[in-house]
Symmetry: C2
Subunit: 255 residues, 2 copies
């Protein structure tokens, strides 16, 4: 049996998705929980490698377990007693053996949440970027103008952190939006793929556009430079959520 | 100077508001933070005694500090470095010496949040009552019919837990509502005062009305009985939030 399942997790106490020695990871916790649930060895594969502290609202995984007898629709309830409090598996179906949860991704959408007010909210600690300096309507308009310039196919080297051996740095951003409601700002970005820290550097740069350190038109030159030092700061992991993962079929359904 | 301030806190790691020996309380943490902020001895008084695990969105306190020089409007920012992550002070003004934050309360409003679905939400652990058994439209209608019967002036002995020496058990419930949105149910109740565990027993009883263990009409007999064993179960602290505190002036403004 090969299950495709959706996860929701609070990233604060995980060192990201991927198994690493001596730290708590989503893949590590889920693998143990699945072997307890199904009673047989399992192989857990994720749709992406989220960083330490990053959250997920709909992270996709496959769970391969030869001879598993739990029907997919019962997997969420069957797994409940074995999952930690900060991780839930809330949907599952069966997929064919040749489906690959990472290589078959059409696109992914992240949302980045900023709490833009002087005093932090204790209910949102670790779950938003608390930015005390006020972004006004003009600042939001500047952020939106800058966000538009990311849309399209570009070399995103300037928006990639060191520390990976990625050679193909071209990605296609399908959409990017900036929505303010009350004192929260949500930045959504959908792309066919993301480089290491790409969303966080884009968001950090947008806030510096809001505050006048950069102009919206500078984004084009930043991209052209292919030089990390030309883009803005890296926003903290706290505000970042993997919100949706699209696969070819799902994409067609939605259009 | 006597400040009136509003607090927001996540109740999970507090043993309620009131100072007790050897445990972490809101009053204890706030007193220390205020003495550090103002540099002089302070007396912190709260509008109510919330239980362990109960949350607050707008808990009112007074802070008395003779000779304090921090202007009230600057208190939230001045206190920031000294407050723990799960507690924020977000509004303050000056009040006269004869204002009493507890005795002068006109009424208080609590909201109780239920997550009504099979799989829990890791982002809401400790912050809602996760109730997996489905409450349908008919169940909600039954809860609303039962909630209406609490409105008015009654002896709430049947809805009070043991463990206090309260002698006057008559309270006036001003309003009570049940709102469902998605898989969340919010129960709001406003009263001139609350007995020990009163909201939690009312909420627990409402869910048992939803599931058919009691009829909405039974509420009247439960109240008349003045006997705790006649009412329903006590809902957990997790879902309970002190949402608003009304003082005579504020009440007039809102009506």
């Amino acid at each position: 049996m090969k299950y495709l399942a959706k996860l929701r997790y609070v990233g604060c106490d995980f060192h990201g998705f991927q198994v690493q020695p001596n730290v708590r990871t989503v893949q590590g916790e889920l693998s143990v929980a699945m072997e307890q649930t199904l009673g047989i060895p399992c192989r857990v594969t994720g749709c992406s490698r989220t960083d330490a502290g990053v959250h997920a609202l709909a992270f996709c995984v496959t769970i391969e377990a030869d001879g598993a007898t739990v029907p997919p629709e019962k997997l969420p309830i069957a797994a409940l007693p074995y999952l930690p409090h900060d991780l839930s598996l809330y949907e599952a179906c069966e997929v064919s053996k040749d489906f690959h949860v990472r290589y078959d991704v059409h696109s992914k959408q992240y949302v980045y949440r900023i709490l833009n007010r002087k005093v932090p909210d204790p209910f949102l600690v670790g779950r938003v970027w608390h930015l005390p300096r006020r972004i006004d309507e003009e600042g939001l308009a500047r952020m939106r103008a800058a966000a538009e310039r990311f849309v399209g196919t570009h070399d995103f080297t300037s928006f990639m952190a060191e520390g990976t051996d990625v050679t193909d740095t071209v990605r296609t951003v399908l959409s990017m939006s900036v929505d303010a409601h009350g004192d929260q700002i949500d930045i959504r970005v959908r792309a066919d793929g993301f480089l290491y820290h790409m969303v966080r550097i884009m968001v950090g740069t947008l806030t510096e556009v809001a505050f006048g350190k950069f102009e919206p038109e500078d984004i084009g030159q930043m991209l052209d430079a292919k030089d990390r030092t030309r883009a803005g700061m890296t926003a903290p992991a706290d505000g970042l959520y993997l919100e949706q993962v699209f696969y070819p079929m799902e994409t067609e359904e939605k259009t």
